[in-house]
């Protein structure tokens, strides 16, 4: 079982307490009515589908909070987790782990 570190509880807990919630850092359009159909499609449906490090959102059932994680989709290893709203963690950090 995967162990995931919740940045709000500051605790490393089993995967079963967490739920995956899609790709992270997808900003809502500032002016939705100005978007073309193609831009809407990209915002709603087009995702990175990364092979390797992937920024994604997870929700912890314990504290009820969504947070961001950087997970390697090949090895299924969590490289880092950080609070929602924080800036995207650079990919260079993961080499240190």
């Amino acid at each position: 079982m995967l162990l995931i570190h919740c940045p709000y509880c500051d605790d490393t807990l089993p995967e079963l307490e967490f739920a995956y919630a899609g790709e992270a850092h997808i900003a809502r359009p500032a002016d939705p009515s100005a978007l073309t159909d193609e831009e809407w499609r990209d915002f709603l449906f087009i995702r990175t589908n990364a092979r390797g490090p992937h920024y994604e959102r997870w929700r912890h059932i314990g504290c009820g909070r969504l947070f961001n994680a950087l997970r390697d989709t090949v090895s299924d290893r969590f490289l880092t987790t950080y609070k929602a709203g924080e800036a995207r963690r650079p990919l260079t950090n993961e080499a240190a782990e």
Binding site: M1, Y8, C9, D10, D11, L13, P14, E15, L16, E17, I61, G62, C63, G64, R65
Partner: protein, 176 residues
């Protein structure tokens, strides 16, 4: 002639229902936490899983802006909170009937819980509490002693949780 003294336990784990209590869900932004703590007359801990108690009322920090307050039935916590609502916006909701409380005690209680809780229950310090899952049902676990737990289960999940508990209890009693 030798003789042996046997220590017969009625059950390695005892599961009992506790009397209903008042449960309130408090959501308040960190900026107004101190105001709410003052009018409610209790400390609102900041660390997730930490508890505090004052005059029969207990507060448990469930999340960065979420607390569960428990108190004897009939305690009035909403009136003092309503008085400061304009200055310290918050939500204080009565959820007393949403859950039932089970008390789990006995030397095998950790075996019973670890059969269905993925979290390392044995590592929970006495006096701590956590919202976690019990075979996919969300529960709140309080550790009141080395082998004494309280578990809040949503009413609709209770039959499922009870049947699992009874099943594991039977397996423990049979020495499996």
């Amino acid at each position: 002639m030798t003789y042996e003294k046997h220590q017969f336990h009625s059950a390695p784990v005892l599961i009992e229902d506790l009397a209903p209590v008042l449960r309130l869900s408090l959501r308040v932004k960190p900026a107004h936490r101190d105001t709410l703590a003052r009018v409610l007359g209790l400390d609102l801990p900041v660390r997730v899983g930490a508890r505090s108690a004052a005059a029969g009322t207990e507060a448990l920090c469930l999340g960065p802006d979420e607390w569960l307050l428990t108190a004897p039935e009939g305690t009035d916590l909403t009136t003092p909170a309503r008085a400061v609502h304009a200055d310290a916006p918050h939500s204080l909701v009565d959820i007393s009937d949403r859950e039932i409380t089970l008390r789990l005690t006995g030397p095998a209680v950790l075996d019973l819980l670890s059969a269905c809780c993925p979290r390392n229950v044995a590592a929970m310090p006495v006096g701590a509490a956590a919202r976690t899952v019990f075979d996919s049902a969300t529960v709140i676990l309080w550790r009141d002693g080395i082998d004494s737990f309280r578990m809040d289960v949503w009413r609709s999940f209770a039959p499922h949780v009870r049947s699992l508990l009874a099943q594991v209890q039977g397996e423990i009693a049979a020495g499996l």
